[in-house]
């Protein structure tokens, strides 16, 4: 009896193991992982486009996408265990200050993608209106926190002027149930979600207050030094994928359906919301590589903000944090 039971358990495990087939790999292409943060989402359309339209393959790359915590991923790329990821500008500078030699090699977002959203009745129409308010944000870290502080500082407000609540990723729910007066969000996502659900909202964009470096393609100094062609292939394929998605949004959205879990199972109304999220995300993507002076200015702004917030203790060499030798 016992033998039969163990055999049965063994059989179940074998069956389950057989469910994980290794993916077919093209031998002539170089396998590489591109680490995205968050979870599969229509906002990552360029990378799905790059895979499905063969832009990565044309560059000799067999790209696998992975999702995870931004700070963990930066540590892996900085330590040379992974080669590429998408990270926000402040992560690059803060990691470099910690001795992790990460470098931005292509810009994805032209605008810093963070903003503050409030229901119309809260009457928050300028950063100065944030005074005395309860603000909800995922936590005192990452792009949301940095973006909010930049916005508050543009109105000469400091932390004693408002109350910050760490609410995790429950911004929409916390806002509509009245737990906070305003929430810090990605401007391409939550405002669209709220409007589609019939809420009238006001949005304050960080990008309107200060020009900061948003999400970019990040690698490490070792990969740049050892294999510049590899970095160039990746950066140019990413830029090409972004451009294609911008020019062909409807096709890009169809491609997303293959990569974003559950998208096909949403109701037509919910699916339309996701399409709107992708379209408003496209509006803040970088379609042409930035000029050097412009890049330097954005990185300098970010550094000044981080110094002001005490997240950097001393200035670092800005020129080392980004390179425009690969994306054009």
């Amino acid at each position: 009896m016992k033998k039969r039971l163990f055999f049965l358990i063994f059989l179940i495990i074998i069956l389950l193991l057989s469910a994980c087939k290794p993916s077919a790999q093209n031998e002539t292409l170089r396998p590489v992982t591109l680490n995205l943060t968050y979870i599969p989402n229509v906002q990552f359309a360029p990378y799905y486009v790059g895979i499905e339209k063969g832009f990565f393959a044309e560059a000799g790359l067999d790209v696998t996408l992975a999702y995870g915590n931004e700070a963990d991923m930066v540590a892996l790329v900085g330590a040379g265990k992974e080669q590429f990821m998408i990270a926000s500008g402040e992560q690059v500078l803060m990691s470099r200050a910690q001795g992790l030699p990460v470098v931005s090699v292509a810009n994805w977002y032209s605008d810093y993608p963070v903003g503050v959203v409030a229901l119309k009745e809260a009457n928050i129409q300028s950063p100065a209106d944030l005074k005395g308010r309860q603000i909800g944000l995922p936590g005192l870290f990452g792009a949301s926190y940095i973006g909010f502080e930049a916005l508050a500082r543009s109105a000469k407000l400091s932390d004693s002027d408002y109350s910050l609540n760490s609410i995790g990723f429950t911004q929409v729910e916390s806002l509509v149930t009245g737990q906070v007066d305003a929430v810090v969000v990605y401007v391409a996502n939550e405002p669209v979600q709220l409007r589609a659900r019939g809420y009238e909202v006001d949005v304050l964009r960080v990008a309107d207050a200060v020009d900061l470096v948003g999400n970019c393609l990040v690698t490490n100094e070792k990969t740049i030094a050892d294999e510049p062609d590899f970095v160039k292939a990746m950066a140019q394929a990413v830029v090409k994928s972004i451009q294609y998605a911008v020019e062909n949004p409807e096709e890009a959205f169809e491609i997303c359906k293959k990569h974003v879990e559950n998208l096909n199972q949403l109701s037509p109304e919910e699916l339309e919301i996701q399409r709107q999220v992708m379209l408003s995300s496209i509006a803040i993507w970088q379609t042409k590589p930035l000029e050097h002076a412009e890049q330097t200015r954005k990185w300098q702004n970010m550094q000044n903000l981080l110094l002001d917030l005490g997240l950097l203790n001393e200035t670092i060499e800005i020129e080392g944090a980004f390179s425009d030798a690969f994306d054009r």
């Binding site: 469910a19 992975a66 995870g68 979600q193 559950n262």
Partner: protein, 272 residues
């Protein structure tokens, strides 16, 4: 040291109900809960992304069941749990046996055993994923670690609870170490060991989900993340309810295994 998990069935209240009633009671409680939920849904008038109705959740379940998504993710989480249980359980049993034979090692390990009961897996999981990658391996490791310590403590306690006179009897019969293990120590430790495994099973479900919530592209934890990201709260409900169902089923499988393995104990209780 951490308290071992006692393996004694709870005292039954009143006489044993008939088989029909034993099915009807849980069914009734589920129906009651669903009705309460429906009343709440109607009364509170919350948007569906905050509280979906039972029907929305049921429809979502049918949808992902029929197109294979549900099994695709559930089987992955189940695989992580079973592999974790197997590896964690075997490692804990072997190491536990070794420690029981080497008292000085046990004393050396004592601080870890005590500390392990308060190991916050939520805090450790991201590190394990950084060290071992985001694939199946790190999730299995997280599960194995959650199972390891309760089983280890129970193995130690179980082996120590063997009556001294039985040890002396074995010695007087000139039993080999193998005979001692299979005929005395293992049967004596089994009730406590399986009690540990039973608790480990439910813990490993939590372990797998913690790992998947941190970083994954498959599994019920991943499905929860996707549902949250798309404001598809019905999907989150389906994933969470599936987890509860899976954890309960696993618990009963171990319970069944326990009953089979410990037939002699029931016999002893009935006859002695």
């Amino acid at each position: 040291m951490t308290e071992p998990i006692k393996n004694e069935p709870a005292q039954r209240l009143g006489p044993r109900p008939s088989p029909l009633l034993r099915v009807l009671y849980p069914l009734g409680s589920v129906l009651l809960l669903v009705n309460l939920w429906q009343i709440l849904y109607i009364a509170l008038k919350l948007p569906a992304f905050i509280l979906p109705s039972p029907k929305m959740v049921w429809d979502k379940f049918l949808l992902i069941l029929l197109n294979g998504t549900w099994w695709h993710h559930l089987s992955w989480t189940l695989l992580e749990i079973l592999l974790g249980l197997l590896i964690g359980g075997i490692a804990a049993t072997l190491i536990g046996y070794g420690l029981s034979k080497l008292p000085f090692m046990e004393r050396l390990m004592a601080p870890f055993l005590v500390g392990s009961s308060s190991l916050p897996m939520v805090a450790v999981a991201p590190l394990l994923i950084i060290w071992f990658g985001a694939g199946l391996g790190s999730k299995v490791l997280i599960c194995a670690l959650t199972v390891f310590f309760p089983v280890l403590v129970n193995v130690l306690v179980g082996l120590r609870s063997t009556p001294q006179e039985l040890h002396e009897l074995m010695r007087s019969l000139n039993a080999s170490p193998w005979q001692k293990l299979t005929m005395l120590e293992l049967p004596a430790a089994l009730p406590v060991l399986l009690g540990g495994l039973r608790v480990g099973t439910t813990l490993s479900v939590i372990g797998a989900i913690v790992g998947e919530l941190v970083s994954s592209d498959r599994g019920l934890g991943f499905l929860i993340n996707v549902g949250r990201g798309q404001y598809d709260t019905a999907l989150v409900f389906v994933a969470v309810l599936s987890l509860i169902l899976m954890a309960s089923l696993l618990y009963y499988v171990v319970l069944l295994l326990e009953r089979r393995a410990l037939v002699w104990q029931t016999w002893r209780k009935d006859h002695l």
